[in-house]
Structure formats: structure tokens, C-alpha cells
Symmetry: none
Subunit: 352 residues, 2 copies
Amino acid sequence: MIKPIIGNIDFIESLRGKKATFMLALSNTKTANIAGITQAGIPKMMHLTPTLDSEFLCSGEVRSLENIAQTPKGVPTPALITRAVHLLAPYSRIEILDLGLEVKPKIDYFKIHNFNIKPSQSIAKKAEINAQELFEKGVAFGQEYEPQDEYIILGESVPSGTTTAMATAIGLKYKVAECFSSSFKDVPNNIREQTLKLALSHLGEKDDIFTVLSKVSDNMLIFNAGFILGLNNKIKIILAGGTQMASVLLIVDRVLKLMGGTMETSNLALCTTKWVAEDEHSDLKKILEELRFPIHAYYSDFDFSLSQHPALKLYDQGEAKEGVGAGGSLVYGELNGLCKQAINNKVEEFLK
Amino acid sequence: MIKPIIGNIDFIESLRGKKATFMLALSNTKTANIAGITQAGIPKMMHLTPTLDSEFLCSGEVRSLENIAQTPKGVPTPALITRAVHLLAPYSRIEILDLGLEVKPKIDYFKIHNFNIKPSQSIAKKAEINAQELFEKGVAFGQEYEPQDEYIILGESVPSGTTTAMATAIGLKYKVAECFSSSFKDVPNNIREQTLKLALSHLGEKDDIFTVLSKVSDNMLIFNAGFILGLNNKIKIILAGGTQMASVLLIVDRVLKLMGGTMETSNLALCTTKWVAEDEHSDLKKILEELRFPIHAYYSDFDFSLSQHPALKLYDQGEAKEGVGAGGSLVYGELNGLCKQAINNKVEEFLK
């Protein structure tokens, strides 16, 4: 079932039966190399996670490493969910946005948009992003993009992306520090807080927006904020993610405020998982309520209650919550006739 | 299973796997306010039925009243069937035709075509329809309509619509009085016959077609006859209904005769339910045989034999038969891979 977080159900119901383009935005930030800051990947191989996620989503195979990304506790990547939906109710097309990858995915025939973007530095070391140029690349991409389907679902894979999203929100002076999730159940507050504190200490009182973003943000957040503005409401787009996608919207909001501008957002929504929407350690709704423009937000109530698989049960226990557009994909699956049992079974097949 | 009523199976088989636009034509006639004339709705709230049906079909929610339309005996609206199919094998899009509603549906994001049409008066009081103008609006809509899918399924929700359909057929001098169904099992012949008699008594010997329609018809019938002529065979269209949709075709037939014209009907068909096609109190096939043009007609053999739910069993007992495009939707579901059990289960979910 699809449930509203903000707004009524009509936006998403109007997309029932319609096909979407799935875009996967990938980037690396060296923030992920800080020991213990994220569990989205394999220790020492964290930087490979977006590469492997995109390979698995597109081809069903993991090519740049022997095994599909697993966290130390054995939580399988949410790419399994996105891939399962794609097998059962396929997207019209999948397109990859390379927003600064250490290792290019080994995929043929799929559209990989390349913007000559480099992985960003750790936010503990001022990130070193050319934020304005990156933002402008996003705007240009949105302006030039010619929609091929009725709507776009935009997912992401950025290891340690929730940390950079949180730094971004605080750096832009939104009062939402308590609202951010982590992909850890036992939120590793010490490492994260130390990193955040250090990152934010680099900000000066008079830093403008783009200077702030250049120091504490990540490529995915900045580019996609530009992308959304560049699209200018010409096609319906679903941001498929939790607090990271909410931070993309905070950047949009902050830029609009800077320009004294407004944006038509009737074609914009956010979709996430039940694990994010009902998470007690974060508050997505409250972040979205900071926005000065109206937004629709939904979640799928899919969970692994039908599964006996211990690795999948970890999702229901809060060990992993979102990523690779899993929430948006679950919503897409439901809009195209899939039931919980079918998705559950398909995900389980991958683990056999 | 899809079974032919008239013609071979090829028309409908050629649509297997193809996506459709579902159009729901809604109107009110004050004929429905005559006590006991219809059970399609809640007493005193009969006029809300099309509004509630469209809200439920599009959003899964009933917004203009607390509960979904139920008849006094507790027969749930056939909108449940149409919605169930839409959840399992979604239409590409749903569009609403407002052909004169008392209360506008509370739906965002869905296309609602507005033609500035007012609800019609009771046929006991000469209906007061500007039939020629209404017909011309239908023709113009058909001419201007740009198909977005491979075919259209056109359903309706018009309380007491079978009575106005019968008055229309008789008023246009088709010898089909015995062929009309009612949504009642125990057809309330007295109230209906009195109403029909009164309505038909207003017709003069020399009344032309549009004068007849203005006195004894309803907006849905007249507009859609124009719509079909305006489409002029440019896209396949399935009239999803029983005797009401047959009366739309009688109007088309009568207008063609008036003009001495012919119409290519190779893209035109009618689909209904088993409850209509096998109804002993009516004879859809015989009505269709009055037409001077060839037509395909089919029905789905779906019934609630797999259900134990007493409210749904009422369909199998003849208490309700068709509406909100239920028959056409069942055919669409079968053309897109749905089985009886899946549809049955989904409808039952709504009643939990």
C-alpha cells in the first residue's frame, strides 16, 4: 500500500499504470572512508558500492567485485529491492548519472550520463567541491533533458550520504539536526558527530551558499538540486530516497530563497520506504516541512514480514532503510500491480 | 473468460496486452430522486453516487461522503470491481467526463473534462435537456480528442440511468421495451412503468429526434452518442456497460438514419458483465440487433462464485449487474493476465 507522508494520495494515484524512467545518481565522497561512518558497503571497499549497485540494477550481475555489496552484519544492499521491482514491473529505461565515481560501472548499452565530475573529498577535509559549477551542470542537464516517459524516478547510491546530507542541512542553517537518519540501527553518533563537528567548524560566518556546499556537501545533493530547478516542472519527478533526497530539496529551497524566486512544484514528489517513514531515529516529515514550497511525499508500506530470511529481516529491525531508490521502486511496483508477496519472493531469489 | 455476444472474438483478442485509457462519464438526472426507482446509491444521497464512484476509482478514497455508495440491501458499488482491476492491471490513465454533476468529485491530478453541462431534470418533468447542443459538444469532443493509448474503455455512472435509457429507446421508436434490465432483482415495474408512461406521454407525434431526447433521455446517453460519431473510428473504443451503452448506440443509429449516413464501426465494441449478458429480465443482444451497423459485443464470465462474502454474493443473485465500466474492466483485466481469483481477492480486500 502507498501511504501519504505529506499531501493527499492523488499525485501518486494519477501515475498508476504509467511507465517511468529510473535514474540512478551515483557519487563517491571520501567521507565514506572514515572508519565506521557508514555500513553501506564492504569495509575498505566502500567506494565500490555505487558502482556495484548500478551494475546489479542494470545487469543482475556484480562485475567490479566478486560479491554483491554486503555490510559487515550482512545486510544486503537495497539494490536488491529495486532490481526485484525492475524484473517484475520493468522500468521503461534505466539511466545512470555519474556524479563522480572512483570506479566506472562495467555496463554496456545503458545510458550513462557523464559530466566530468570527480569524487569529492571528505567533509572532514573541506570536501573540495566546485559547488557552483556542479550546480550549474545540474541545471543545464535539467533544461536539456527530453523526457521519454511519463515520469522520472530518481534514486541515489552515495556511501556515507546521510552524513553529508545532515552536514548540508545544518550548514545551510536549517534547524533539523535531530531529524536525520543513519543506515545504522545503533547510530554511531560519536564518529558521525565528530565528523560533522569538524566539517561544520570549517564554515565561516560569511560563507555564501555555494561556499558552504563546497565544504560540507556531496556531489549528488548539489547536482540534483540544480537538476530539479533545471527541469522547471516540465515532467513529474519522484525523488526516491529519505533524508538525502530531503536535503536535495533543502538546497533547492535555500537557492530559491537566495534568488527571491519561486518554483512550481506540482510535478515534484518524494517517495521512500516504510523503514524511513516510520523510523524513530529520524523525522523525514519534519525536514520536508521546512520547505517553503509545497511537496507531496509518500511511502510504501512494504516490509519483509513475509520473509524468513535473516538477512532481509535486518531491514525490519532497522539495520538498513533506504537507498538505490528502493522506496520509490516499491511505490512504482505497487502502481504497476505488484503485491508484497511477489516482491518478497523475487528479493529472496537473489539470496539463494 | 471473454465470451462473444455478437461477432467473433478477434476484435477483443487483438487488444490483448494493450493498455487503455479509461474514461468515466458521469451525470445526474433528477429522475433518480423518484423514490424507489433505483438502488444505485444511498437513499436521499442518490445524486452523490457518480461523484463517489469517481473518487473511489481514482484515489481509493470516498471523499464527498463518509462511506462508499451502498444500496439499501448492501450491494456494494461496481466501482469496487473497476478499482480492483485498476490496482492489479492498471489503466494507462483515467479521465473523467463531467456531463452534469450535482457535486464535483474531489480529485486532483486526474484529467476532468468539463463541458459546462448541468444535471438534467427528471424525465417525469420533461428532462429539460438542450439535446442538440449536448450532442454537438460530444461530437466536438470526439473530433478534438487525441488518443494517448491503444484504445479507450468508456464507462458510466448515472443513477437511474437504465430508466432513462429505456425511455430513450422507446422514445426513438425502437421495439425493445421488454429488453431492458434494471439494477433491481425484483424489477420495480410499477414505479418505473409509471415514470416511463408519464415521460413518454410528453412526446408529440411530430417531435424530432432531438426534441425526443430533450424530454426523455439523459446527458450521458446523448453526449456519448455524439462522442462516438465525432471519434469517427479513429481509435478503438469499448463501451463498457449494458443496456445504457446499448441505448447510446441506438441514438447513434437513429442519428445516422436521419442523416442518411453510415459510419465505419470496425473500431467499436461493447463489453459488459456476465450478470447483464445472462440476465433473464433483459435482452442486451436483442437491443444490439436493432442497430443498422455491425457491432462487436462481449462479456466477461467473471462472477463471485469464489467469494463467501454475502454482499458480493448479491451480484450473483442478480441484485446488481453493471456500472462504472465494471464489465469492460473485467475484460481489460483478462486481456492483461488477471485471473478470477486475483480480482475476487482484491475486491474482497476493500470490504474488510
